[in-house]
């Protein structure tokens, strides 16, 4: 199915829901991995909004990506509870180990690195999230182990 067709199907599915925009954007992102530019006019037509309004919503929220991202999302918590437990060092290490900054994806397309402001795991900081899994008390060794497990599971998957 082309991405336009996928998006149109989702727009039809969500358009009558009150306040459909966020559920629709989440669904598009879950399906395609990001919200591509060609989604904007389709959403605008389906929800009876201007393209500017749709763009405005997409650009407002940290979660919505407008470009392809890595196969895995790695988020490091930047909030105060994690800072109190060394997350500033963890984030420098993560950037150096992956060779990317926040908002970037590794050259092999495997990992995108993002900051996150609190994962609600603040009693056992520092925290990070890989896809839908949260990890506690992450030091540099644990970070490296989790990232290499990710590499291993990728190879097994292939």
């Amino acid at each position: 199915m082309s991405s336009e067709l996928k998006i149109s199907t989702l727009v039809d599915q969500f358009k009558d829901l009150p306040g459909a925009m966020l559920p629709l954007l989440h669904a598009i992102q879950a399906e395609i991995g990001y919200v591509p530019d060609n989604a904007v006019p389709l959403i605008a037509r389906g929800l009876n909004l201007s393209r500017a309004e749709v763009h405005g919503v997409i650009s407002f929220y940290h979660d919505f990506k407008t470009h392809p991202v890595g196969r895995h999302s790695v988020q490091i918590c930047r909030s105060e509870a994690c800072q109190a437990m060394g997350s500033r060092e963890l984030e420098s290490h993560a950037k150096a180990a992956l060779g990317i900054d926040y908002g970037e994806t590794t050259a092999d397309g495997k990992i995108s690195l993002e900051p996150v402001y609190c994962l609600g795991n603040c009693a056992c900081s520092p925290s990070m999230r890989i896809d839908d899994n949260v990890y506690a008390r992450v030091d540099q060794t644990r970070f490296d182990a989790l990232i290499s497990e990710l590499a291993d599971s990728q190879e097994i998957a292939r």
Binding site: E53, F60, S79, E80, A81, N121, C122, A123, C124, A136
Partner: protein, 504 residues
């Protein structure tokens, strides 16, 4: 065979609870996946039902299982991770648990378990009352909004109740974004029916038949559990049409946020639910009168709505008996950051900060002295030791220009650089401001720059004056707490820890 419990809570999972469950299965035991009791320093906490009561082992990892199984058969108390009877652990036993009374007892999705532990008693009582009678109960209880602003819940409900009949909404603010907080998450993951019950009661009270839980996307486990709980509650006719034969209707849906801290502010949350940018609205009109889609709307925090089920089950007077001054009931204290024993501590208002961090927390995780404590999230003040004897009460905290907020306590040891923390407060505001008010949107950017200049000893005295004036402008010129309170951590850091700003 004894019954084993291992939590499916985010923190327990983050510490390896699934591996422990897998090890139990390999040993031929299917564990109950309960919620956490919030004793996070003991997670993963393995509980075993025995003739001597429910005993605990923690923190356990998969490799400990063989030894624990052997100990359970022979002499449990000899095992090094043995914690004794769970209900007798002093950290838990000394608490005054109302909202978290059921947390960790069993499978959070088991409706029978919920009802066996007094669940839906509040709803059954409410179904026999008029809307006004329910509102009166909430008013008499003295319950104030637990999200941070501490507005009396009953007055908000009365306003929505008094609006002409028609479409009204109950919106639960589950966008728990403050660093150091996890109380909402714990309710949703350990006892989701309690929140659902509170929302149905709110609907009955004000005449609303539709509810939304606005949940932050950072909580995937809570998302899964809430959706499953709503499905089961609907199947059992606690949600939907003709609830338990009462003729009343209430529908409930979870809506996911998208990573914007500002959407925890109630008007911004409503904009987001409507499908717009999460921009703060000017008040008036109050959301109670013109809220979601322009209709009268109750917006309450998870803990506020959860408390309502307790109030309706046990009566307003019972709830009112807890607390001090105008802060009635219990406070869900969340102890976090650099702390040895972090977790959820539910106590009546009035306990001092020092008692919490020293007696429950047992000092820092790093073993170094505590230097600063931030209470109330990223917009809360940093408190030096001279202020740790302040009782946890909304008014007492307001009096020292601090706030209890949502009850999060973040502890820092003496390695903290308070100038860096002040800078972060401004930086966070840059990242999370909705952009509506100039003092917040631009002021925070300038704030970062000015702090950098102060620390670099660049025209220091004048820049200090400038920073204070900037803080004044943000406090007075912003519509909501984001810009209005970002100066709190900045000013408190400057006032109490000036040496950290001395530069090189």
């Amino acid at each position: 065979m004894s019954r084993f419990y291992i939590p499916q809570d985010t923190t327990a999972l983050a510490l390896g609870a699934d591996d422990v469950a897998a090890a139990l299965r390999s040993a031929g035991i299917e564990p109950v996946r309960n919620g956490s009791r919030g004793l996070f320093w003991l997670e993963p906490l393995l509980e075993v039902e025995t003739d001597q009561g429910r005993i605990g082992f923690g923190p356990v990892c998969a490799a400990d299982i063989a030894g624990i199984l052997e100990a359970v058969e022979n002499n449990a108390s000899a095992h090094p991770l043995y914690q004794g009877e769970v209900a007798e652990i002093p950290y838990l036993k000394s608490q005054q648990r109302l909202t978290y009374a059921r947390a960790g007892e069993g499978d959070p999705l088991c409706l029978d378990n919920y009802q066996r532990l007094d669940g839906f008693t509040g709803l059954r009582n409410a179904l026999a009352m008029s809307g006004q009678q329910i509102v009166d109960q909430v008013k008499e209880s003295g319950l104030r909004g637990r999200g941070g602003a501490a507005f009396p819940a009953g007055i908000k409900w009365q306003t929505v109740h008094d609006c002409a009949a028609g479409q009204k909404y109950i919106v639960c603010n589950a966008d728990e974004g403050d660093s150091g907080t996890f109380a909402d998450r714990l309710v949703m993951e350990a006892d989701p029916y309690q929140l659902i019950e509170g929302m149905i009661i709110a609907g009955l009270a004000v005449g609303a038949d539709q509810g939304y839980i606005y949940l932050r996307s950072e909580y995937p486990v809570a998302h899964k559990l809430l959706n499953a709980a709503i499905d089961r509650a609907t199947e059992a006719n606690f949600l939907g049409d003709n609830i338990q034969g009462s003729g009343k209707t209430f529908r409930l849906e979870v809506r996911l946020g998208a990573g914007a801290y500002i959407c925890g502010e109630e008007t911004s949350l409503l904009e987001s639910l409507e499908g717009k940018r999460g921009m703060v609205r000017a008040k008036p009109p109050l959301p109670a009168i013109e809220g979601l889609f322009g209709k009268p709307t109750v917006v309450n925090n998870v803990l506020t709505l959860a408390a309502v089920s307790t109030i309706l089950a046990q009566g307003a007077a019972a709830y009112q008996n807890f607390g001090m001054g105008r802060s009635r009931g219990t406070l869900a204290i969340q102890l976090a950051g650099n702390i040895k024993r972090g977790g959820l501590i539910e106590l009546a208002f009035g306990v001092t900060l020092r008692e919490v961090v020293e007696e429950y927390g047992q000092g820092t995780y790093s073993g170094r002295p505590i230097r600063a404590i931030q209470v109330g999230g990223p917009l809360g003040a940093f408190l030096p030791e001279s202020q740790w004897d302040t009782p946890m009460d909304y008014e007492a905290f307001a009096a020292i220009k601090a706030m209890i907020g949502h009850g999060g306590i973040v502890v820092f040891d003496d390695s903290v650089d308070m100038a860096a923390q002040a800078r972060f407060a401004m930086e966070f505001c840059v990242a999370e401001s909705c952009g509506k008010c100039t003092p917040c949107r631009i002021g925070s950017v300038r704030g970062v720059e000015v702090i950098d200049r102060i620390v670099a000893n660049d025209n220091r005295d004048n820049n200090l004056i400038l920073l204070h004036e900037l803080c004044d402008t943000m406090e007075m010129g912003s519509l909501c707490a984001m810009g209005g309170m970002t100066p709190f951590p900045v000013r408190s850091a400057l006032q109490h820890f000036p040496d950290d700003f001395a530069g090189n």
